[in-house]
């Protein structure tokens, strides 16, 4: 028996959410008295892979197949299922992400496993195997019992801290057989901002709404974000009007974020926007309307004109 954890990379490095998943897996393994194996697919720097050991994993399986350099959902599901079989895994842990969301269900079918996405806490194994996840887009939680022999869990971002415990990992090349039919989805082009902080991964998010009047006013949002090391987000009308790219749209129908700090500027706080941000640890709202509903969901608020407040915040942030 063992626990398998999937490592996702970005530009050759291990994503923060993957390290969170590793800590989640090793903590669970400790509770169950079993070992944890990590599996990484695609291009990683050698140091990136062995550094996973610092988070308590003794062995990393590295799938180096060239055809898997980009995430191919069907082939990745096969590779992970093969790794789970090889390691006799009882639980497979994956970091929740846009790629994993598309892989995990196929993996669950291959393993005939019960599956829970977006776990916010370690499983309760005191009687059975119970996992808590957020539902109704952050408005409630449910506890789910998994009764299958093999269990598959994705871990919500920023829900479980990545903790270094020391140690180093042995990296082993793993070459699972992947049928040609798994490559029937062809990736023809990728458009991706590089060197940018990814919104779903970010510790701090600075988000702007329709109150900013137009795309030409985003300079100050980007500057404040840069000073704070934050990612930028926006409300739905802002992406609908193409002021900002769609992948920055936060909320019920967009990206769900759970940063330590969410700063909302010129966003009214409609319930559908709140649905995407309500698991943030701390929310700051800047709005000229003292009655804006967002203040009810906020920890700190400033009633004021964004065009006056934000430049002052940028100056203050430079001194941090």
């Amino acid at each position: 028996m063992s626990i398998l954890v999937f490592i996702e990379g970005v530009e050759g490095e291990v994503k923060k959410s993957s390290l969170e998943a590793v800590s989640y897996a090793t903590e669970l393994a400790k509770k169950k008295g079993v070992a944890t194996t990590a599996v990484a697919i695609g291009n990683f720097s050698a140091t990136a892979l062995s550094s996973i050991g610092k988070y308590g994993v003794a062995k990393v399986l590295h799938v180096t197949n060239d055809k898997l350099a980009q995430v191919n959902v069907m082939a990745y599901a096969t590779a992970l299922a093969e790794a789970a079989k090889k390691e006799n895994a009882e639980v497979v842990i994956l970091p929740k992400s846009s790629a994993v969301d598309a892989i995990v269900s196929r993996l669950a079918v291959k393993l005939n496993a019960g599956v829970v996405t977006g776990a916010v806490d370690l499983p309760d194994t005191s009687g059975g195997f119970k996992v808590k996840k957020s539902i109704y887009t952050g408005k409630a939680f449910t506890t789910v019992e998994l009764t299958s022999a093999i269990k598959v869990i994705t871990v919500a971002k920023n829900a479980f801290p990545a903790t270094e415990t020391g140690g180093s990992a042995q990296v082993e090349v793993f070459a699972p057989a992947i049928p040609e039919s798994d490559f029937s989805i062809k990736i023809t082009k990728t458009e991706k901002a590089t060197g940018e902080i990814l919104l779903p991964e970010a510790d701090i998010v600075v988000s702007g709404g329709r109150g900013l009047k137009g795309p030409e006013n985003w300079g100050m949002i980007i500057e404040l974000a840069k000073e704070l090391g934050a990612a930028t987000g926006c409300s739905k009308p802002v992406s609908d009007m193409d002021w900002r790219p769609h992948h920055e749209h936060v909320g019920q129908t967009g990206v769900k974020v759970s940063p330590n700090l969410y700063i909302a500027i010129g966003i009214s706080g409609a319930i559908q926007h709140l649905a995407g941000v309500n698991s943030s640890k701390c929310i700051v709202v800047i709005n000229k309307d003292p009655e804006a509903p967002f203040f009810k969901a906020a920890d700190y608020g400033i009633v004021g004109d964004a065009f006056e407040v934000v430049p002052k915040l940028i100056e203050a942030a430079k001194k941090l």
Binding site: T142, L146, K192, V303, A316
Partner: protein
Amino acid sequence: MKILVCITNVPDTTSKISFTDNNTKFNTTGVQFIIGPYDEYALSRAIELKEANGGSVTVLNVGEADTEPTIRKALAIGADDAIRINAFPKDAQFVAAQIVAVAKTENYDLILMGRESIDFNGGLVHGLVAEALGIPSVSPVMKLDIEGNLAKMAREIEGGKEYVEATLPLVAGCQEPIAEWKIPNMRGIMSARTKPLKVVEPTATESLINMLAYELPPAKGACKMIDASTPEKLFELLKNEAKVL
């Protein structure tokens, strides 16, 4: 082209969520149910594809009789016929098994649904269905065009977009801006009443998970206001009080 659109019947996005029966049941009192917003994007695109290429759009919902108004709404928007699998949608794996049972005999070219339901936010059904049928699945799809037997799609990835192609049949989990939501017109609403809605009993499946209990998040404390003339105070508080900087 034969298209199946799977829809959920979920609380309106403005609903206040609460539970009854010792936190084991969703409280439906005063709650308006709607077609899942992501599902509605899928349905809208399906109707556009039918209008452009011919064919048919069937909607499927796994739900008890109380979901029929939501199904009729999908028919009013423009689906040709509907199937209701007469069972409470207990979890994603149960729902997927019901869809697979229908899809195996009907041979759809395209199975569309939302990227996730807005009640349990699982995002699993499209992949579960596709894997069981042995066909490709793509999600979240924000653009979908059909050229002959080829589907050309854009899917959202973290920080950008990825363009992918696959031959039909396939399953897609959809999101905006794949299509604009369509508002049903009077003629649509009238004709929806007489469009076929077939009720099918569920197939038995192995249960792998059980939903045990629900809970609400702890209530939020009051918002601390900072004077607009001294916004720099904010960082002091974020650093020393909230400890998030």
